[in-house]
Symmetry: D2
Subunit: 338 residues, 4 copies
Amino acid sequence: MIIVLDRKATQEDIDRVAERVQAVGLRVHLSRGTERTVIGVIGDERQLDPEAIQVLPGVERVVRILHPFKLASREFKEAPTIIRLPDGTEIGGAKIVVMAGPCAVESEETLLETAKMVKAAGASVLRGGAFKPRTSPYSFQGLGEEGLRLLARAREVFGLPIITEVLSPQDVELVSQYADILQIGTRNMQNYSLLQAVGRSNKPVLLKRGMMSSIEEWLMSAEYILASGNHEVILCERGIRTFETYTRNTLDLSAVPIVKKLSHLPVIVDPSHGTGKWELVKPMSKGAIAAGADGLLIEVHPQPERALSDGPQSLRPEIFSEVMRELVPVARAVGREI
Amino acid sequence: MIIVLDRKATQEDIDRVAERVQAVGLRVHLSRGTERTVIGVIGDERQLDPEAIQVLPGVERVVRILHPFKLASREFKEAPTIIRLPDGTEIGGAKIVVMAGPCAVESEETLLETAKMVKAAGASVLRGGAFKPRTSPYSFQGLGEEGLRLLARAREVFGLPIITEVLSPQDVELVSQYADILQIGTRNMQNYSLLQAVGRSNKPVLLKRGMMSSIEEWLMSAEYILASGNHEVILCERGIRTFETYTRNTLDLSAVPIVKKLSHLPVIVDPSHGTGKWELVKPMSKGAIAAGADGLLIEVHPQPERALSDGPQSLRPEIFSEVMRELVPVARAVGREI
Amino acid sequence: MIIVLDRKATQEDIDRVAERVQAVGLRVHLSRGTERTVIGVIGDERQLDPEAIQVLPGVERVVRILHPFKLASREFKEAPTIIRLPDGTEIGGAKIVVMAGPCAVESEETLLETAKMVKAAGASVLRGGAFKPRTSPYSFQGLGEEGLRLLARAREVFGLPIITEVLSPQDVELVSQYADILQIGTRNMQNYSLLQAVGRSNKPVLLKRGMMSSIEEWLMSAEYILASGNHEVILCERGIRTFETYTRNTLDLSAVPIVKKLSHLPVIVDPSHGTGKWELVKPMSKGAIAAGADGLLIEVHPQPERALSDGPQSLRPEIFSEVMRELVPVARAVGREI
Amino acid sequence: MIIVLDRKATQEDIDRVAERVQAVGLRVHLSRGTERTVIGVIGDERQLDPEAIQVLPGVERVVRILHPFKLASREFKEAPTIIRLPDGTEIGGAKIVVMAGPCAVESEETLLETAKMVKAAGASVLRGGAFKPRTSPYSFQGLGEEGLRLLARAREVFGLPIITEVLSPQDVELVSQYADILQIGTRNMQNYSLLQAVGRSNKPVLLKRGMMSSIEEWLMSAEYILASGNHEVILCERGIRTFETYTRNTLDLSAVPIVKKLSHLPVIVDPSHGTGKWELVKPMSKGAIAAGADGLLIEVHPQPERALSDGPQSLRPEIFSEVMRELVPVARAVGREI
């Protein structure tokens, strides 16, 4: 940590800052420049709250040197984390993992039909929401436990592991009884009670990036889960909110190589929510794989125009098959399989 | 709702859309232009999911005509909502309400000292966090129930109603036993389980705007609480996330007159989080009152440099007194009292 | 400047950085921490391009300590800059200055009518565009020199100094022959040829903030004008682009006290463009004055529904008079006159 | 265009709106709903200024149906525009075009060395800035005409067409004497004088997206050039400004398929400015090509640490060669050559 003092800082101000730093067992290194005096903090700065220093009289600015996350960092763990599902599917390994299915689980028939088709097209995991976070209290909120049962039934029939969202700490236990992967949605990325609850579960967690969260905040939310004891976290870029209104969100593919550099955790991309338009799913899926993503999360619905949620961004099964076929050479071009 | 058809839409496409609209009991009005055919929907469009129409073949765009919120709207209730606390304090009435106190409750001594001073300076409500949402799992997370007890003790001594944040649905009952107002923080604005839980409580709820939320989404979150049966919602603008990094957030004061126009709910402003810098609290408090806010939420700490959370934006008590004094003529200039 | 080295940086890397710093006459101060080595640069860091250091092998991050602007800074000039117009009007002094008029000059009759009314209501400067930057090449682009002549005529008749926008370096001379203040629009805030051209003129310049420019970039653009020899710069906050779509821009009133702290230049606010809605002009004008602005730039049109540009945000003259009347007590409440 | 009336609109209001629409030769279509009356405009809505309607009494909202650009649209011209440079290089055809070189032209030696290497690696166009838009008036502003001469010399020696930026309308003639493609930078995307000036030249124009511009505004700026008579416009996505600070900009790859859908103009991607970090150039170049871009604009410098501008995002020649080699299979995977 670097503490920049105000040009009018007094010796007393400097002493007070030094004392504060030393109080938590760190050392200071004073550097007097022509325009500013700067104090360097020696030791693990994470023990020191930047805000507590920022407010001291005579302090102009505090600059952190280290990333605030630790367990999630590459420095902590060099080797990439590979997550194994019960059926042997690996996330973060050489093979690209595609998770596909409807936004919301609606009926047994629709779900089984979708599961059959996405499996045939090459998906490895079935997605589907039983508890749905909806902007409007008047919209369809999901089938709840009945939806979970239908997902489990689809897994039984087609052998596809399932991923589904959990919205509330109270539901973690219930959802864990059915799901192979627990999904944390974008609106809950900083719902710390929920992060701690899934951190105490023994299921892998897919953590979506908050629609207005920085990459650092996203990794801090992963840190919450890791620090609670669950080391199986998959990150999922799903678009961020910007001034552009043509797309629902702006898919930030640069997050993929950045996360790969900063962290050992696998990272996948959701081009369906990331764009909000089904016709952009194919080009952005290709872009994501080419940029280094470990997988994709794609919405597929047999009849998007009858979907109870997120129809405009859902692919028809035949388009999904086409996407999967066209992804094969792209994956190969970057040394991966799909 | 207006449905704009693609210039290549066929008669079959038009019929399919019309059928869909009529299926929920609404009527269609067809308008053939030179470049596009447009279908107007007649009836309460809120019964129709825009997404389900958007995906129909031949549809180019769907435009909602009505706001998606109802109970929160001025159309539903013309008269402004005024919320009365047990001690008679009114929020949304002629008098500006100032809620002040430390970001986090830290100790009985500090809390009582702060309460005494903010009351003397003219605050009507004491704020303080017992459950704290922190970006890092390694930061101080609040005193929990012990913090609630200290708040209750401060109320007993100084007669100030208290407001404190609730983070999780499980905690709503506990927090309601102590608090006069339940606060929903910015990161939980779309935590729907939590919104429904406070919606079932009988305490007024202060709903902070999500740092990434549009005004419409904010009012939709208020709608969740109202639709769950709790009609006492106070909105709180606390800054949105933009590209500007000089301030922690960009305080959107235009949200005040906009909310006043769209909704009957009271709206207050949090200049402390809204800027992240204590020296901006005074000018932005004045700006907020002049723009029509019903109140302020201000962080005050006897020694900001010793605060366990949000020190840089906390006011020393003597500065808070100064702010309160200088607000008097501003409030008067816009026909209010403070 | 602080140079943070990579944890894997070698002695050779350190030496190379030191050599680079010393090459421009600055000194280095080495600080070896437990996790990182940090190099402090001693001397005026503005001589060193942070990017040239950033790319050196072994460098993780470069942190500037000083603001990159100099002539525009409070450190350079403590006393506030007050700009005097030919008729004695002062901008940046105790009196709030209101500049009002139509977005575009359309006809002599309309302009004179507006000028008469805004003067009667208390405006000190007449605004009006002769060269209009329009998003569409098919929209009305302004009357050009004829518009300038009409403005000069209005000044002659009513004694109001005039402000008008200049779009291109070639036009600076022409516009300077007519205008009392040259306006640089939001889209040209980083049009450096234009900034240099107005920097060489002898007319005060009103520099609007870029709709997606940080406060630091804005002050750097002011620096361009100051460094070209023109010391009479007025800053104008006019809203920034965010994800919120209800308003045309998000008016950032916190920019007012921030600019006041960082710079000696006067700062005014444009609530018309800043919100894009006439009904928000009144509350945001009050908010701006209460937050410390030195003035306002307001669009007024005798018949907004007949305006050739920006009608939705223009005030009818009677509303403008009302705004002016209601601003009087607000200005007084913060110790100013209007 | 759809005009939504206020629920309190009177018959007089309706008549006034209708009259306004009919005055420019368009027809109205009235639709009375249960909650709102809606007026549909029949005919080419581009003749009607939405703002002029928006301000009419009783109007709640105006919704445009058509895109405001015409010449740039796919509706106007279905076939993709292919631009041919003097040496036969085609932009927008089957072959991916890579434009590479230093940010700024610095010296003959460096430029020729870079040109040689980028040509050997497979680049088709040499980039280099002679006139540089710099945030600070104290930074290196480019060599001016001397830089243009050096570029022309490099073209002569290596046979590479050259692209360079033009900053001011006065310079268009001069720059056109040397350059094969005129570049409009991100800060000048809405510098309409400049757009009109290059629109009157006979050189292809590369139009960078404004860092703060929507895709629609970008296409409107292209429309300015097309409407001035120059039909050879290449669009270049170069990152937009968001809240994320890890990268200099957020590269919006979804803009590629969107532009391809809305317009017939070729679109390329600048991953150097788009990310600001050289190590992100490779993955984002792959992502761009996989998503459908027609080319890339990449900064290459023989010694980035000695570059006078934008060093951190410049590739060393050996890394550039590596990028080019690895792009070959990606291009092939999406049916293109490079």
